[in-house]
Structures are given as structure tokens and as C-alpha cells.
Amino acid sequence: MSTPSSMNGATNIAVNTSSEFAVEMDALTRRFGSFTAVDRITLRIPRGQLYGFLGLNGAGKTTTIRMLTTLLPPTSGTAKLWGHNVAEDPLAVRRLIGLVSDETSESQSGWTAREYLLYFARTRHIASPRDHVEKLLNDVGLEPAFRGKLIGTYSTGMKRRVEIARALMGSPKVLFLDEPTRGLDLPAKREMWNLLRRLAIDENVTTFLSSHDSHEIRSLCNEISVIAKGRIVYTGATRDLGDDLDSFEENLITLLTQSSAAAR
């Protein structure tokens, strides 16, 4: 993946400059019936940061991301992105974000990558949508020969690249990435990491990275939160959980085990 193109062709984003944080959560809660998936999370993430979000399966990571990306309304509490409340002003929030979740491009397996991205380029009213789409596909490194072929024929890594290209469309201020490098081979994974770093440095893009890959989190994120049973059990510097990968993972497992035991 090459250095991202400058965000030319993108629509203007109405940015609320009153908040210094990219993401703010105050007692954010989501219940499904009697089950509390996310329990009074309070968290603030500064702008331009690569932020890691860790947790076991079913801990509440995806529910949190879905609330922050306006896909799921909170039951109580508030969440703001660049000062915009996700529940009250979802359109403003959607102008600020990009989301890569579990292979949503798979849903449109009968489309080509170009068609898929053009759909979003045109609905975002991006000037010269075709050029913009080609530029994004260059950024994520999808071979030109494949761009006009059906997504259903792509490898997992290629589908991931298409999803990342879609998430980068419209120059997002906050990127939500749920397992973004799953299915990518090692070179592609490292290109992806470089891309995210450059976005943070050059474009001041905040990245909210949910991953099971400790190495990925340690490589990219200076600050992390760990969630267990819907509650934040750790927030702080990544290095505080261990100087090397082994100690990081051991401390993380200990933390999660203790949290689960406490919750019981």
C-alpha cells in the first residue's frame, strides 16, 4: 500500500472544533433485553492517535464500535466524535468516520471493486468519483487488473483492501477498524500498518483499532483500552502492560482472567 493520496476530491466535513477529543464516551451503555453488552464505558481518545481496543470474544468491542459508528443506538450514556453526538447527529458523525468491519464487501460479491467504491463516491458527492476511486485503489494496492472483476472472485486479502479503500473514502477523521489485517499476508499487513501510521501523522486521522493481534496492537498503538464483560478494565499506555510481546500477552491474559472472575 502506498502513501495515501491527499484527501482531494473529498467533500467538506463540518468539524466541531470545540472538542479536543476525537472520541468521547460517557457512561456509554448498551443492553439487549436483560443482557448488558457494554456497561457504562467512559473513555476519551485524543485526535490523531492510533488507539487500541482489546478484549476477548463477546467482551463488547464490536458493540462499542457499532455505537460509535451510529449503527447501534446506545441504551444510555453519550458518545461523541469530534464533539458530535452519535445519537443526536448521526449524519455529522458519518461524515467523519470510516469503518472496516467483517468483510462487508462480501455482501456485494456480484459487483466489481470499482462499482462498489463508485456507489459510495457518488452518494458522498465526491468530485471526479472515478479518479478518486482509482486513487484509493492505488493506495490500498489492489491490482488494476482485478478492479473490474467481481468481488466474489477476490481473495480475502483483496476484499480487505476494497473495504479499507471504502473506509478511507471522503477523508475520514476517525477510522474504526475491526480486525483490519485479518486475511492479509505479511507484506500487505505491514503496508497496512504503514498506511495507518501515515494517516495519523500526515492527516491527523484518529484510528480506533480493535484487534486480537497483540503484535499489531503493540506495533501501532501507544494507548490502549481493554474491555471485558462490557466494562473497561484497563486504560493506559501499551508499554505499561509489558516491555515485550510475551510479557504483554501474559499481563493481558492475567488482566482478562481476573476481570472475568470478578464479574462472576
Binding site: L71, L72, P73, L91, E106, S107, Q108, G110, T112, R122
Partner: protein
């Protein structure tokens, strides 16, 4: 371009990006076109139009339910609603796409219809069909959208299955209502039940029937019921989608759940309870086809044959030209009418007079042939012991035949294919030895064929070929 317009254009394009979308559309149109072509050999309007303007539009309930449900089932909404798109904008665009597809389907019927109208014009039944069809399409999109919205799951089977069940009920209720109302039971519970079908409601509102003899005398509440069904479904779908659901989740309170349940019941049951069932008005004529009352007095038979030909062995049928073949439209058809007299062939027949009349066709015959003092008679053997019994209890095994050269010119056709015209024969004659002259009247018919098979086939092939071409082009472009 507004966001709704951009979404509309993109969603419309997306609809035809499905791997088999163009192919499917082509197959549907090809089957319909094939049916339209076949129907030019019998009667075109009733069978083809019922299929094309009634049954297929009813199936749009499945299309609407599937199209509404699939973006949530396949998680495409996650991509859409993390872009700056509001859910109301997307819903409007999606509905507009559905209405565009229905309009495209309606337009796709145009070539076949033009072939028909170029020959026949627009009879009442076609006029009604042309209104019935968009009404059904509108209702089916509304109801299908509501079904699609009500189901949130990772599979489209539930909404499609529900839509298919409703489709079957809606189809079955059409003949059921015609039979029940014709039997005078339109106001019974079963009669009310049939009004659950929007196809029946719209048919009643427009005041026509396919085979039924009666239609409702008033239609005010039927129209109101239709409005409740269509706009109620659309409004409820919009309210549920925007106010009772999240992007992929139900976000309801107990009050909202009860409101939805009661609203669905009210919308579904309102027509069955309130639409009119006063089936007191005779059904208007579907077209200008004359009424046929086929009667042959015993032994008094007739048949059309080619000049000089004998009576066919399997003579005779109420359709006089069964063996002669179809008459040609708008041109003279020369034939001989053989009239079998129920008289003893051993006795002389004198003072034969015949009068021929028909509806929708011109009949002419030489007056000398219609009035013969001593007609030259051939003998016709009644087949299978079917000869008449004379007043003296003598059963005839054969009868005398009078031959009348006639020219028939069918002029006023009302359908492609087979048109049946009444042909009435009135005769008087004397039989030697009888004191009183004899007389009888036959009410028979002749059929004429309006040939348009080639034109219909050609008209019906244009759009399927276009669809197959588009499918092939897309396959080549994306393979």
C-alpha cells in the same frame, strides 16, 4: 445532485448488478412473450393479460420484500449507514427504485400490447387491465416493503417466504371471489375474506370481472380500503424502519410493539371488513364480442363446406366451419352451407326458403339459392343413430340436404386468434303429403382467425434479447 437522487441512481444500477439480474429479467420476459405468442392462436386477451397484467405484478411482493430485506441480511447497510447517508434518504431511494422497476415491467408489456391494439383497439377489458396492473404493482410494492422491513435477520428466506405465502393467497382469492359472488354469496364470510387480496379489491374498484357475472354496485369503501392498504403499508413500513428499528436492530418499547401489531392487523383486515360486497350489478361486456346461444333443433343440422364438397363424416357441430377451417378476416370467404332438413328423404321437399343472419360478419347468398321451389336434394346419413323421430314415430336414419352457396366476410374482430361469430339460419319448407309447412331456426357460429403470431413473436423478442445481451455484456466485462 441530491443524496436521494444519487442513492436512487446507484441503487437502480445496483439492482441490475446481481449476477443473474439481467438473465432473470430476460427469462421472465421471454416466457411472457412466448405465452403472448401462443395465445394469438386461441384468444389472446383473457389468458395473456391475466398472466401479464395480473399474476406477474402480484409477484412483485416477493421482489419488494427481498430488496428491502437483503441489504440488512447481507450487511450492506453497515457500509451504507457509516457513509453520510440518512436512513430516510435511503428508504426513499429504495422505494423509488422499486417503483421504477414496476414501471419498467409495465413498459416492457408495451410491444405485445401494441400488436394487439393495432389490430383490435382497446376493448373494455384491456382498458381495465391497463389500470388493474399498476394498481397491483403499487399495492405489492407497499405490502412487500412492509414485509421486508419487518424482518431483520441474516437471511432473506423469512421475508421472501412470507411474501410468497401472501402471493399464493392473493392469487387464489381472485377466482374464489368470482365464483362466490356469481353464486350470490359475495357478502358471506368467505366473500369478505377474498377482499384481503389487493388484486380483488382493485378489480372490484374498477368494476370488472373475468368470468364472474356480477360486480359491486358501489365502490367508495373499496377505494378507501385500497388507500388504507397501500398508504397504510407504506407509512407503517417507513415508521417501523425509521422509528422502531436501528440499522440492524429492533429498538422498540412494549407500546411500539403493540402499535405495530395492531397497525398490521388493521391494515390487513380493513378491506375485508369495510370494502363493498353488494354484488348486484351485472358485469359489463369485456369487449364487443357478440353473445353466442348455440341451438340446433333435433335433426336440423348445418355445416359449411368448400364448394362442391360433401358433408364431412363427423358432421355436424354448432361451429359450422369446424372442418372448413378458419375464415379469413376482412375478406370474402366462399363456401357452401349444407342444411340438413329433418324430413323423410323419400318424400319431395318444395318451397324451400332460408334466411341467413349473423353478427360481426357479412353474409351473402344468391336469392335463388335461398328460395328454391324444388331444391335438388342430396341425402345425409345421420351418424350413430342420431336421426330425429318424426311425429308419426318414424325414426329417420337420413335426411335431405339443401346446398346454399354463401360468401362470408368477418369484419368486426375483438381478439387476436379465434373469434366466434353467431350465424343464424331460419328455414321454411314443405314436405309432400304434409298439410302444414315446416320451419326451424338454428343458432350456430363460425370462427375466424386473426393471424398475428409472427408480429407477436417479433414484438415479444425485442426486450428479452436486450436483457440477454446486457447479461452477456456484463459477464464479459467482469469475468
Amino acid at each position: 445532485m441530491t443524496t436521494i437522487a444519487a442513492l436512487y441512481v446507484e441503487e437502480l444500477k445496483a439492482t441490475m448488478r446481481g449476477r443473474f439480474a439481467w438473465l432473470g429479467a430476460g427469462v421472465v420476459l421471454l416466457v411472457l412473450g412466448g405465452f403472448a405468442t401462443l395465445c394469438t392462436q386461441g384468444g389472446w386477451l383473457q389468458p395473456y393479460s391475466f398472466m401479464a397484467y395480473g399474476l406477474v405484478p402480484l409477484a412483485f411482493i416477493i421482489v419488494a420484500a427481498g430488496m428491502m430485506a437483503s441489504p440488512r441480511a447481507n450487511r450492506f447497510v453497515e457500509s451504507v449507514f457509516t457513509a453520510p447517508v440518512s436512513r430516510s434518504q435511503w428508504l426513499i431511494a429504495k422505494l423509488l427504485v422499486l417503483f421504477t422497476l414496476t414501471a419498467a415491467y409495465y413498459a416492457a408489456l408495451l410491444p405485445a400490447m401494441l400488436v394487439y391494439t393495432s389490430h383490435i383497439g382497446v376493448p373494455l377489458l384491456l382498458h381495465k387491465y391497463l389500470l388493474w396492473s399498476p394498481g397491483i404493482l403499487l399495492a405489492e410494492v407497499a405490502i412487500g416493503s412492509l414485509i421486508g422491513v419487518l424482518f431483520i435477520s441474516r437471511s432473506v428466506m423469512a421475508p421472501i417466504g412470507t411474501a410468497m405465502g401472501l402471493l399464493l393467497a392473493y392469487v387464489i382469492f381472485i377466482p374464489m371471489q368470482e365464483i362466490i359472488s356469481s353464486q350470490g354469496n359475495g357478502a358471506t364470510r368467505s366473500g369478505h375474506l377474498t377482499l384481503l387480496s389487493p388484486a380483488v379489491l382493485i378489480k372490484n374498484a374498477l368494476g370488472f370481472a373475468f368470468g364472474g357475472r356480477v360486480i359491486p354496485s358501489t365502490t367508495r369503501m373499496t377505494w378507501i380500503s385500497l388507500a388504507v392498504l397501500v398508504f397504510g403499508s407504506l407509512l407503517l413500513a417507513a415508521w417501523v424502519f425509521l422509528r422502531a428499528q436501528g440499522v440492524e436492530t429492533w429498538e422498540t418499547t412494549r407500546l411500539k410493539r403493540w402499535t405495530i401489531l395492531l397497525a398490521v392487523l388493521a391494515i390487513a383486515l380493513f378491506p375485508a371488513i369495510f370494502a363493498e360486497t353488494n354484488y348486484d350489478t351485472p358485469t359489463p361486456s369485456a369487449n364487443n364480442a357478440p353473445q353466442l346461444h348455440l341451438t340446433f333443433p333435433q335433426g336440423a343440422w348445418a355445416v359449411l363446406v368448400h364448394p362442391g364438397a360433401p358433408a364431412p363424416r363427423n358432421c355436424c357441430r354448432p361451429i359450422l366451419n369446424w372442418d372448413y377451417g378458419a375464415l379469413k378476416i376482412d375478406q370474402p370467404n366462399y363456401a357452401e352451407l349444407l342444411v340438413v332438413l329433418p324430413a323423410d328423404p323419400a318424400k319431395a321437399v318444395t318451397d324451400f326458403h332460408a334466411t341467413l343472419s349473423g353478427e360481426g360478419l357479412d353474409i351473402s347468398a344468391d336469392p335463388a339459392a335461398l328460395n328454391q321451389s324444388a331444391p335438388p336434394l342430396a341425402t345425409f346419413a345421420y351418424p350413430n343413430d342420431s336421426g330425429p323421430v318424426l311425429p308419426d314415430a318414424h325414426k329417420l336414419t337420413s335426411g335431405p340436404v339443401v346446398r346454399i352457396p354463401v360468401t362470408l366476410n368477418p369484419r368486426h374482430v375483438w381478439d387476436l386468434g379465434n373469434n366466434r361469430f353467431p350465424l343464424n339460419i331460419a328455414t321454411t319448407y314443405k314436405v309432400a303429403g304434409d298439410t302444414q309447412p315446416h320451419a326451424f331456426e338454428e343458432h350456430a357460429a363460425v370462427f375466424a382467425q386473426l393471424e398475428a403470431m409472427g408480429q407477436m413473436a417479433l414484438a415479444s423478442l425485442i426486450l428479452p434479447l436486450f436483457c440477454f445481451g446486457a447479461a452477456f455484456a456484463r459477464w464479459r466485462r467482469t469475468r
